[in-house]
Each structure stands twice: as structure tokens, then as C-alpha cells.
Amino acid sequence: MIAWDPNMELMPEADLKEMQYKLLKTLVYRLYSFSNFYHERMETHGVHPDDITRLEDVVKLPYMVKSDLRDNYPDKIFTATPKELVRYHVSSGTTGKPTVVGYTKNDLENWTESLARALTSCGVGRGDVVQVAYGYGLFTGGLGLHYGAERIGATVVPASVGNTERQLELMQDLRVTVICCTPSYLVHIGETAKKLGISIKNDTRLKAAILGAEPWSEQMRLRIEDEMGIKAYDIYGTSELSGPMFSECTEQNGIHMWSDLAFVEIIDPETGQLVPDGESGEMVVTILQKEALPIIRYRTGDITSIDSSSCPCGRTHPRIARLTGRVDDMLIIRGINVFPSQVEHALLGIPEVSGHFMIEVDRVGALDNMLVKVELNPEAFSDKINDILDIRRKVGHTLKNMLNVSVAVEISEPGSLPRFEGKAKRVIDRRVL
């Protein structure tokens, strides 16, 4: 096993905890003294830095939510002076007004180091050619992976997103070995390759993909790995935390959350109470060393679970499971919580349909109607209506088992449903509540 920063990555768990406590204590004192926002928050919440005497005392601190960042647009929470800022990123604002994240030199350094460790843990290094097909610009994905990959001595192809035929040309001509993009965009690249008669497995040197910025499933991983002959790794981060920062290691069994940078808690989104290790809940993150935009107990809205047991790779930092959805993506259909990721998960197990889908929700009288539109795979097309009706029944049945709620299914022509190059927006909710 090769680690980028072995002293840190392999540090005994007790030492990591001790370090986290010291970093947390320092952070809380600093913010109580120098941040109006955090000072007021702690006062209102009745907590003083002296109340933090061990790591577990973190629960005494108030939560922070996305709207705190929006309400303090653009930089009212920043604790760095304008002269110390070296970069801004602005979030895509898929769920509301954009938020602005500022970075000091140290913030960029920590972000880059975090990704250097992550990429190394996926077996990427010097000699690799990394095609960064995340958007460059205000979005954190492109520049984040760019500097992370440069740091470990890989060769970067800053392709950004879009122009898929050109992406394939670059992949072949520059002997790309690793691609970083959203999972749905890689699927789109795969489909385009097929149309052009290019086999990613045989005609390119691609060996790994670092995929994130949207939820995806284990079946999707298996399908990508099988079709393209590569390893696909999950990467996590959001702009509020800095950007993409954490990824799976070659064990592909959870995303290592570097303890010196992030303190992770999993809570019940309804009650705000901590849930035990291994149980699903909303992830709350404290970024322990952030200078420009400090983040304490930020409710990410991402649903996952945490595993603190030791990883066979040797890294001691806890792992979070693949994200299973977002608190704010959750649809409530006839009283049942439904996540679009569950639909994706179910569809990927049905070879007769593609992974593309749309969910439409209407309210007829007092009843919620959920319609899932899927695309028939050309190989599954039959001239007999009953064969297609059987497929529709199978999809409906599988979805009902997965979601515990009945849904209508519509079979669409292949290629007719929207493709997404950024964050996928697969839900149209027409209910007037």
C-alpha cells in the first residue's frame, strides 16, 4: 500500500482523536474570539469554548445549515481578511441562491493535500495521465482535482466538461489512464464511444475513474467497471467543505474522511440526535483547519453512515458509506420517503432498461401519483407487445419492492430521456402542496 502522507494516514486512532480534540478546541477559541457569527451563535446557544473539554463535547455546539451561508452572502462569515483570500468558488445553487466560499493559501493547501492523499489511495500517481472532466470555473470539481492530481505528479488534461467526442479523442491521443467526472457523464462518454465505434476497454488506456458530485449506486459501478474494464472510485466533497476532498481507497469499501481535516458526525435529520456507527443519517461535518470560511457542525444534507473500524488498506481514518440520497431530494409519496437514488439502484438491476430515468409526481385528488419513465434497451425490444408489457410490469414490481410504494411506469424510446452533464435533475414534482 502506498500512502501520500503515511505519518498522517496510518496514525493510530487514539492519536488521531487526540489531534482532533486539540484542533477543535483551537478552532472554537479562535471563532469565539474573532468571528461575530460564531460568537453570537455560541452565546445564543449558551456554550463557551471552556465547555469543550473532550472531543465528544462537540455536540454542545450549534449546527450550521446551508441557509446560514446564503443569509450571510457573500462573505459575512469569512474570518480571513480580504488580503489573505487567494480564491473564490461559488456553488452551483441547484437548491437555492448560490453560496460563496473563500480560500486562504492554507485552505487551498489543505484541500490539495486532501486530494493528493485520496488520489494516491486510488492507485493514481506519477506516470498517470488524469483527464479532469469536471467543470472548471466557479464549480470546485475541476480546479480541485486539477491541483490534487498535479500535486502527486500526474499529468493533467484539463478537459473540463462537455464536447464529448473531443473528450474521447483526447483520451485516446494523450493516453489518458484516469478520468475524473460525474458518474452520469462517464456513462454518457461511454454511450458516445459506442456510437463512434470506440471501445473504452480496448481502444484506450483508461484504468480508473474518480466519480462524484452526484449520488450513484453500486450497480452503476459494476456496470461501468465491466463495460469499460476499469476501476471506478467514489469521491466526496461539497463546496462548503472546500470541494471534492475524500475518496475510496483501492478496497472500494467506503470513503476515508481525513480526521485531521474533518470531524464527521451522523445524525437523525428529524431529531438532530447522533445515530450509532453503521446507521444511516445526515452527515454533519466540522472542518477543523479552515481559515477563510470556518465550518462547524455543518449539516451537509447528505445521507450516509460511518464506519470507524480499521480498513484493510491500513488507513486509520473513518470511512463513510456511499451516499444514498439527500435530505432535500427526499420525496414523500403517500407518506413514504422515497429517494431518487433508490429508483436508480432498482433500475440498474434490470438489464432490459437503461440507467436513465425521470420521475414525475402529480397529485390527483388527495393521492400522490408517481410516474417513472425509463428507456427500453434496444436489445430488449421485441415486436411482441406482451414482451414489452412484461418488462414494464417487471420494472413496476421491482420499484414497488424497493420503494414500498406503487408507481406507474412508462416505457420510452432509447435516448429520449434527458442526459445530464452536471448535477442530474431527475425529478419533476408538479404537486401543489
Binding site: F381, S382, D383, K384, I388, L389, E410, S412, P414
Partner: protein
């Protein structure tokens, strides 16, 4: 016995049930100068399958596939029926007695006779039995 000469390539096209889809298919065939000889639509709630015999099936496949339609070839047979009461019964009885299942069928009344297009589960056997019992099958050549 070689049934190939009596095996006719039908094109089957998946279509969402919304305005303009049939026009898109028919227009594309017109653009390629392809003539439709027999035709039927099977529909279910929300989608349908357009089935057609055309004079240039390969060209039709290529064209429709290129504009994004899901299309496949299906082997069917075309039986000449006497255009009199009982004509359909004669044919159906032969297949029934031989235990051959008709998946679906459609008919057209041509210049010389009524023609029944049959999609059956066992094509070779159907050809053999119909000919053996004195029935007349149209050969694939007659559709090109």
C-alpha cells in the same frame, strides 16, 4: 425443405404513443423512396409497435435506426387466401391442427387475392405444413 424463400423480413418499430411518431416513421420511409406493402400498429397504454412489410427492409432499418428509432427484423410468412367466406378458416385450421401458435397477424386484400401476414412461433414448420396442405405462400421476392 427450404423455408427461406418464404420467410419475409418484417420491420418492427417501437414508438411512444404521442402525436407525430407515425408521421416521423412514414416520412423517413418516403424520403428513402421505400414503399410500404402491408402495415399494422399494435398499441398498448403509452406505446405501440409499428409492423410493416416494405420493399427495401435493409434500407428502412438503416434509415429508422439512424434517426433514433428502436427497430428490429421479424420473420413472418404471407399466405394467399381465397377471397371468399371461409378463406381465413382454411389457413387457421391448418396451423391449429399442427399445434403452431399464431403470435399475431394482419391482412390486406391485394389485387389477386387476400394476403394474411402471420407471425408464428415455428416458422419453418408452418411453411412446410401450409405448402403440404396445398396452401399458397408468397415468396420474399414478391415483396421486393
Amino acid at each position: 425443405m427450404d423455408a427461406t424463400q418464404y420467410t419475409i423480413k418484417q420491420i418492427s418499430v417501437f414508438s411512444e404513443n404521442k402525436p407525430g411518431r407515425l408521421a416521423a416513421i412514414a416520412g423517413a420511409l418516403q424520403d428513402e423512396g421505400i414503399n410500404i406493402l402491408a402495415f399494422s400498429i399494435a398499441e398498448a397504454n403509452g406505446f405501440g409497435v409499428v409492423r410493416a412489410l416494405v420493399d427495401k427492409p435493409d434500407a428502412a432499418y438503416k434509415k429508422l435506426n439512424s434517426i433514433g428509432f428502436m427497430i428490429s427484423f421479424t420473420d413472418v410468412i404471407a399466405v394467399k387466401m381465397r377471397d371468399v367466406p371461409g378463406g381465413l378458416f382454411e389457413m387457421a385450421a391448418i396451423l391449429s391442427e399442427e399445434g403452431i401458435n399464431i403470435e399475431y397477424s394482419y391482412a390486406y386484400s391485394g389485387r389477386e387475392a387476400a394476403v394474411l401476414i402471420l407471425r408464428v412461433d415455428r416458422v419453418n414448420e408452418a411453411v412446410e405444413k401450409i405448402l403440404a396442405r396445398g396452401g399458397t405462400l408468397l415468396s420474399a421476392d414478391e415483396f421486393s
